[in-house]
């Protein structure tokens, strides 16, 4: 019933001597929200960052195994990593606007990928800000620094910026954990609205949030893949005792 969009095969990640992801094999379904859950330090963020090779930025990292995106292993030699990343929008844990105006933040991605027509950019910026539910709040002050926005607005700006490169995937790394409840709900609503068009991978350690959003669930524990499956199944009839314990709140 789920069509795979990313296929992770035997993925191992080491930070120096530390083995942070152990032989992960799982498919991520297309145009669904997949939640990666598990206690802190279990490798959720590392798994997420392996999908667009942001792991490259970490010193002393070693990766083996495959991540197939549209059938191509992104860890192959000769892969253009900027093309991979362009396909995947990232929403980080802390809002991370760039040191420029609201408009320039949204236009940053399209510009580096070669869009120069002002009218086209204006239209795209508006569409993306609307898509992130921010347009009405900022349309009068697009030239103002992004840092002037509230944290919740900044996070929606980051969503708009991610949408602007027309990605197929959205990678979300606990995107609401630094936000107030109202902004958090706003982000969740936006994600549910746009999920028909994007494959969304969502890291969270808030189980209630995973229940609200997820169609598919991946449970990690200490770097191992313990269980994965459709959300209803994992949440109601987990097959592994550790999953059950985690979901019942015994630990985590």
């Amino acid at each position: 019933m789920f069509k795979p969009h990313i296929s992770i095969q035997g993925l191992n990640v080491f930070y120096g001597e530390r083995h942070v992801l152990k032989d992960i094999t799982v498919d991520i379904p297309e145009r669904r929200i997949t939640a990666i859950i598990g206690p802190s330090g279990c490798g959720k963020t590392t798994l997420l960052k392996s999908l667009n090779r942001l792991t490259d930025l970490i010193d002393g990292v070693k990766v083996s195994g495959k991540v197939l995106v549209d059938g191509v292993n992104i860890f192959d030699n000769g892969i253009d990593v900027t093309e991979i990343r362009k396909k995947m929008g990232l929403i980080a844990q802390m809002p991370n606007p760039l040191p420029m105006s609201i408009y320039d933040n949204t236009a940053y991605g399209p510009r580096i990928h070669g869009m120069i027509d002002e009218k086209e950019l204006d239209q795209l910026v508006e569409n993306c800000l609307r898509g992130a539910g921010l347009w009405d709040e900022v349309k009068e002050r697009l030239k103002e620094p992004a840092s002037k926005l509230s944290l919740g607005q900044q996070q929606r700006l980051c969503l708009a910026r991610a949408l602007a490169v027309k990605p197929e995937y959205l990678l979300c790394d606990e995107p609401t954990s630094a936000l107030d409840p109202i902004s958090a709900q706003y982000i969740e609503t936006q994600l549910l609205t746009i999920k028909k068009s994007y494959t969304i991978v969502f890291v969270t350690h808030v189980l209630r949030q995973a229940r609200r959003l997820a169609d598919y669930v991946i449970f990690l524990y200490l770097g191992e893949l313990i269980e994965h499956g459709p959300a209803e199944t994992v949440f109601t009839q987990p097959s592994n005792p550790r999953t059950r314990a985690y979901i019942e709140g015994v630990f985590g």
Binding site: N52, R85, A92, P99, M100, Y108, G109, I112, H113, R161
Partner: protein, 282 residues
């Protein structure tokens, strides 16, 4: 309990003392230079070049040294910046924590510590070898050599402070390293870079030793890069060295002009930093 309060008061007193010594010395330097120089300060000092007999106390001014210093410092700062920016970007976005990067930083720190007279002597040897004469160009080259390690390390430090999350955001959108370096890191570091440039400018305009052998000294305003050029620090040096009181006063007056130049630049850069700060992510 009482002992701790005493301790607190004692060390606070110590800190206040150190601070006032430093601030006091600064004010003392200002006072000495201004008090000694003020009588000799005049419009002609600023607008005229030395006439015959100037160094014996006759009329004229040090316009030659003012213009010379400004040319030299601007040229050297610009040249040093052309070297510094690529090095700092390379260290931060490409070499990062590699052994090569730490070796480069070590070298820059060593270069920073070399006295400017050594740079002067070094450039002088090369000039002899090439058969070049002392000129504005060689002055610029020498000064830029000795200010670029300062500028590079200062820019490097502000770039290092630019948060990792900004780089991550940029890479996640599919930027190359170059795009991240030029469009994100440089923008974030802009106010700090301005301070670094100013620091280098201040060191460059105030140094006498490095230009002593390389820039020459002349009573006229230079018209090309190949003319010799006078500078304010050397004007101070030469005038102080004469036995004539009027000329010694003019040495202090030249010092005042140098101070005012640096001060004006500081204020201008403070004002423009505020503008650049607008977009910086805290």
């Amino acid at each position: 309990m009482n002992k701790r309060k005493l301790e607190e008061a004692f060390f606070k007193g110590l800190m206040l003392l150190s601070t006032s010594i430093v601030v006091g010395s600064l004010l003392a330097v200002f006072a000495v230079v201004i008090l000694n120089g003020a009588p000799a300060l005049s419009l002609s000092m600023l607008t005229q070049t030395p006439k015959g007999g100037y160094y014996l106390g006759k009329e004229g001014g040090i316009l030659n040294a003012i213009i010379g210093s400004v040319y030299l410092a601007i040229g050297a700062t610009a040249l040093a910046f052309l070297l510094s920016l690529p090095i700092a970007l390379y260290l931060n976005e490409y070499a990062r924590k590699s052994r090569f990067a730490s070796l480069t930083r070590l070298s820059l720190d060593v270069l920073w510590g070399i006295p400017s007279i050594v740079y002067g002597a070094f450039a002088f040897i090369i000039m002899l070898y090439l058969g070049a004469r002392a000129s504005l160009l060689w002055g610029i080259i020498t000064v830029s050599l000795f200010v670029f390690p300062i500028m590079t390390r200062a820019i490097d430090e502000v770039m290092k402070m630019s948060p990792f999350k900004l780089r991550e955001a940029s890479y996640a959108l599919g930027s190359t390293r170059l795009e991240t370096a030029l469009k994100v890191v440089t923008r974030q570091a802009l106010p700090g870079m301005l301070t670094a440039v100013l620091l280098a400018f201040g060191r460059g305009i105030g140094d006498a030793a490095s230009v002593l052998l390389t820039a020459g000294y002349t009573d006229s305003v230079p018209h090309s890069l190949f003319d010799p050029v006078a500078t304010l620090p050397l004007a101070v040096f030469f005038q102080l060295g004469t036995p004539i009181p009027e000329v010694q006063q003019r040495a202090y007056a030249s010092g005042v002009i140098l101070l005012v130049l640096v001060l004006l630049l500081s204020i201008a850069s403070r004002l423009s930093t505020r503008k650049f700060m607008k977009y910086v992510i805290k």
